[in-house]
């Protein structure tokens, strides 16, 4: 269920919101490797964080415009490497893109503009089946067909 941590963040996690401010990737790698929250800009390499995943509690990925899809890959790279902390999509996050982000492992959203709760519910509940395996728990159709 959608649980709102703050006025503007949508969270799909049960743990307490992480309140340490996120540092930039450059700062994290250069001097603040004890930080527990990092922000990735759209073009930055999520793989640079892989050695530090066990100490991170929050990774925030920027979506400067909804057309910029690099963050989807960043999310999956982190989840595939075993990251279990909060993964937040921040920026031009819209209701029609949010289900795809959920499938790429994002479990927290800080949209620039408010998202209509009813439209979001419809959007998240709409598809009963998914063709492909991704970073969420959905069972792909081929597995349903063949067990």
């Amino acid at each position: 269920m959608v649980e709102s941590a703050t006025e503007t963040t949508l969270r799909f996690r049960d743990d307490e919101p992480h309140d340490e401010p996120a540092v930039t990737l450059d700062a994290f790698l250069a001097e603040q490797t004890n930080a527990t929250a990092v922000r990735l800009e759209a073009g930055e390499d999520a793989r640079a964080l892989l050695p530090y995943l066990d100490r991170l509690a929050l990774v925030e990925v920027s979506f400067p415009t909804f057309r910029d899809g690099r963050g989807y890959s960043a999310g999956r790279v982190l989840r595939e490497a075993g990251y279990t902390g909060e993964l937040r999509a921040q920026g031009d996050v819209l209701v029609d893109q949010l289900p795809l982000m959920r499938r790429c492992g994002f479990d927290s959203f800080a949209p620039q503009a408010e998202i209509d709760g009813e439209a979001l519910r419809r959007s998240l509940d709409r598809y009963d089946f998914r063709y492909q395996a991704a970073a969420d728990a959905a069972v792909p159709v081929w597995k349903l067909r063949h067990g």
Binding site: G69, Y72, L100, R103, D116, Y127, Y131, W142, H146
Partner: protein
Amino acid sequence: MYKYDQYDQSIVDARVDEFRDQVTRRLAGQLTEDQFKPLRLMNGLYLQLHAYMLRVAIPYGTLDSRQMRTLASIARDYDRDYGHFTTRQNLQFNWIKLEDTPDILARLATVEMHAIQTSGNCIRNISSDQFAGAAADEVADPRPWAELIRQWSTFHPEFSYLPRKFKIAVIASDEDRAAMRLHDIGIQLVERDGELGGRIYVGGGMGRTPMIAPLIRDFVTADDLMSYLEAALRVYNRYGRRDNMYKARIKILVHEIGADEYRRQVEEEFLAVKALGIDPPAAELARITAMFAPPAFDTDAPDAVDRSDPDFAVWLDQNVRAHKQLGHAIVTISLKPVGGIPGDASSAQIDLVADLAERYSFDELRVTHAQNLVLPHVRKADLYTIWQQLTDAGLAEANLDLVTDIIACPGLDYCSLANARSIPLAQKIAVRFADRSRDLGELKLKISGCINACGHHHAGHIGILGVDKKGTENYQLSFGGSGAEDVSLAKITGPGFDEDGVVEAIERATDTYVALREEGERFLDTYRRVGMQPFKDAIYG
């Protein structure tokens, strides 16, 4: 043919519901046009010069009579009684109202059709060889692989906002009838030690910077296919250019970092992705392949054809090709009547072709990237009656691969991007050369109304590009392109022409070809042997 199960149907039905919701929010003003645009585009709905255009997906160009009749019914009920078959083996309706689109999609869903990902910066409809399952020269039917890719790519969560659109073609013959190496990814199925695998080419395309895709992996088995494609796309999604939409296709990335470096990155990514278990089991490909089993051919079908009607014999020689089953043939129905609009078909014609497919071709039809239709599995004994019925419907033009079998984009008559008209020029050329077209032999002429190259002019033996020159339409002429297995990119002849001038120039070029050709040479072969100069001299001398 592939048949939906409950899962496929549920997904397509949900898509109709989703788009209905999006249209409702747009009409209510809850979505701005800027926000709505990528959503409608991902469902094939474009805003053209005069109206909305809806592009319906025809996966790998295969459909049955029920689907074909549904297209005709939509043309009748929601459009101006015709549809336009495209170079992506799809069908476009040109005069659609936004508020009708949810109902149109709902009707399409009743016959296992949709408009998913026929536009937008996502993985588009998978194209294939229109002779798949019928061609004598294929190692396997490529469509099960195409269907596997269709499912994997549908609503792919990571690859729905790529830097730019992404087109994949799958073929299984050495003869390339699908312009495979001019796709973002081209796959040729080959056999190695008794096993089927895909030869993967990445980074081809037309547009403003045409490129022929280099070979990136020489063999990928079906077991690894999804992981490999996921890796290939992920490298592109992460590193493809997003600063300039004209440099955003994967061909630019592959060109800028080089095929070797791209290959290295994909292999590295593949190792990581392969461990995730995202590849469907062999049973899934087997399930799909079973649906593409060859129809129950009449093994006693006579192989002889009565050629006594001379008009029929001409059509037979031009539009009918060899089938792998004795006594059968592949019929191409030309949508290029001389003086007509390339690729257009009326709803009555669409219905007739559906009837012919149902009655004579095991209920199967194909759309070709050259904007024609195919009856893939016809008994030779039925050819004459088919030809008669096509003749009555104005569909028996005997011009497959001739100069009048022109690929043309919609151009300035419809398209908001176009600089020049394509259709009237195609009509003019067809009329001018109709009488000598058979003597000129195979001559693929392709026209684009702007630099985006939707009319494949880079791949034309003769290519024409319409440009805007100080407010007037101007046409650049080029020679020597090919989208076939002898793939090459056409070269510009020199300064451009006005509409009459370009027709004149083509006439001089074809006269030059006739004067210089050696036995058995096509226009393209003569051009390749003698080079541009003699043609240039004739045109500009």
